[in-house]
Symmetry: C2
Subunit: 265 residues, 2 copies
């Protein structure tokens, strides 16, 4: 099972949109996919129209209680299950704060009962707090959605340092798989400049002793496309909502590129 | 002094862009403005090109150490000072977690040494954690930047509940001033639908016993405009970077509308 955290502490860069549509794209290509929603906003859960009322456990009970990982998993379509989040997850960060090995709770639960899947994708909240650290400790690869804008680029250094710190302290096999440009405004000077900066940075890091030595900027760029913003209000992935849109094209291309890209770990 | 927290736990909706450009717009209208950066990403600090490397205190030392509030304030232009943040602020949430009255630390420091200003604006991180709670406990009004998209709208209910909880427990005078639509794609069906939903919600809440009984959707809408995304890379407000752009027009109109709107508190 390939395990990938989709994270970036910068808000609104396309983490959830990428996690959901990449998961759906991989499932459409015949892979078994488990999507984990580790964001208290529960947007990945909402995006796919998953119902969290009812008695079934959510990821909150898995992290803070005795619920097994698989008890939070709900099938949402051909080859895709979602470990759903609820707003109670916001309390988890403060509740876990006093625990020993508080960053390893998610990894322990995953190891105790791993899902039957080829890919495990984890949608992270826009912060470097305990929930994100739990994700980084549990996976082997990190995918960073990046909006090609100055404020979004600025935090990349801090992100890499966080990945290096987690690899050093909690999870030696953690590697950066790469960045994917989202909401890409084709043709603006800013987008081109940012993309060139990032590509040059990773070129220069080739072969270094860092967790990003094999990282790449994915060739697929996800263009800005209003259909991607509309799909969540129907509880659907972009493939269900607007199969012929640019958004569906780009996320299908991204899924295919990921399938061709060997694990960074 | 009018005190306003600019917050929304949804990421990337325009909090920092609004905090910085509204502060600059109010200063240009002759008001004395203090902008507080409570986000560990330090994007408001970065956006205005403020240098945090020297020996001067940042907001981290104010919250976790003995530094006074005014020691973190740096003048950045006519009538505008910034209480700057650094990436050490990320550690503040965990460091404050064990303190008594952990949500009131910022308020106490502000009361001990208030800045000489007509307006105090606080840029918040994309979460409902301790830093945001500190902001909500310290101010009288909340302004919510809202991207007119489904995922961004979905969290509004939770935001209002958080404001109500803080007003009930920590800060009885806290009121929602209103929402301002950012990155408004004029003409899309989604934007119009979301705007109408929000306006209808606040109409219906008029006169209720809630902290949002007087809230309004600001008439000024900030259109999507690439100049707003470029300005931070030059360390400038939109007024310095592109004075004739749509972005400058919209934030000037927002500043003027705010000056005409009586306090909600
Ligand atoms: N390529 C795109 N084109 C147009 N809209 C997009 C695109 N990608 C995402 N969006 C929209 O932009 C907003 C932000 O995206 P999203 O919520 O996926 O970001 P995020 O990084 O998960 O945010 P958060 O930091 O709050 O978790 C959403 O309203 C989403 O629908
Ligand atoms: N009206 C606009 N038009 C175009 N780009 C915008 C606009 N407002 C903000 N942006 C850009 O969109 C991105 C998100 O905005 P911003 O960083 O202000 O949001 P935020 O809510 O503060 O994000 P965070 O949740 O990470 O704190 C930034 O790159 C910013 O430059
Ligand atoms: Mg998200
Ligand atoms: Mg911000």
């Amino acid at each position: 099972m390939r395990t990938i955290a989709i994270m970036n502490q910068k808000g609104g860069v396309g983490k959830t949109t990428t996690a959901v549509n990449l998961a759906a794209g991989l499932a459409a290509a015949g892979r078994r996919v488990c999507l984990v929603d580790l964001d208290p906003q529960a947007h990945a859960t909402l995006h796919l129209g998953v119902d969290v009322t009812g008695r079934q456990a959510s990821i909150y009970e898995v992290l803070t209680g005795d619920a097994s990982f698989s008890s939070a998993c709900r099938p949402v379509g051909e080859g895709l299950v979602v470990a759903a989040s609820g707003i109670d997850l916001a309390a988890a960060e403060l509740e876990l704060a006093d625990r020993e090995n508080r960053e390893l709770v998610f990894r322990e639960k995953l190891r105790a009962g791993p899902p039957e899947a080829d890919y495990l994708l984890v949608d992270c909240p826009p912060s470097l707090g305990l929930l994100t650290l739990n994700a980084l400790a549990a996976v082997s690869e990190v995918l960073i959605p990046l909006q090609p804008q100055f404020l979004a680029l600025h935090g990349l250094g801090k992100l890499l340092e966080t990945i290096r710190a987690v690899a050093g302290r909690l999870n030696p096999s953690l590697r950066l798989l790469g960045v994917v440009f989202c909401m890409y405004d084709t043709g603006t000077r800013l987008a081109t400049e940012v993309r060139q900066d990032v590509e040059a940075f990773f070129q220069a890091a080739r072969g270094s002793a860092t967790p990003w030595a094999k990282a790449l900027a994915f060739r697929t760029r996800v263009r800005r496309n209003i259909r991607l913003a509309e799909a969540p209000s129907f509880g659907q992935s972009i493939f269900q909502y607007a199969r012929t849109s640019h958004g569906a094209e780009d996320y299908q291309a991204l899924a295919e590129e990921l399938l061709r890209t060997p694990p960074a770990a």
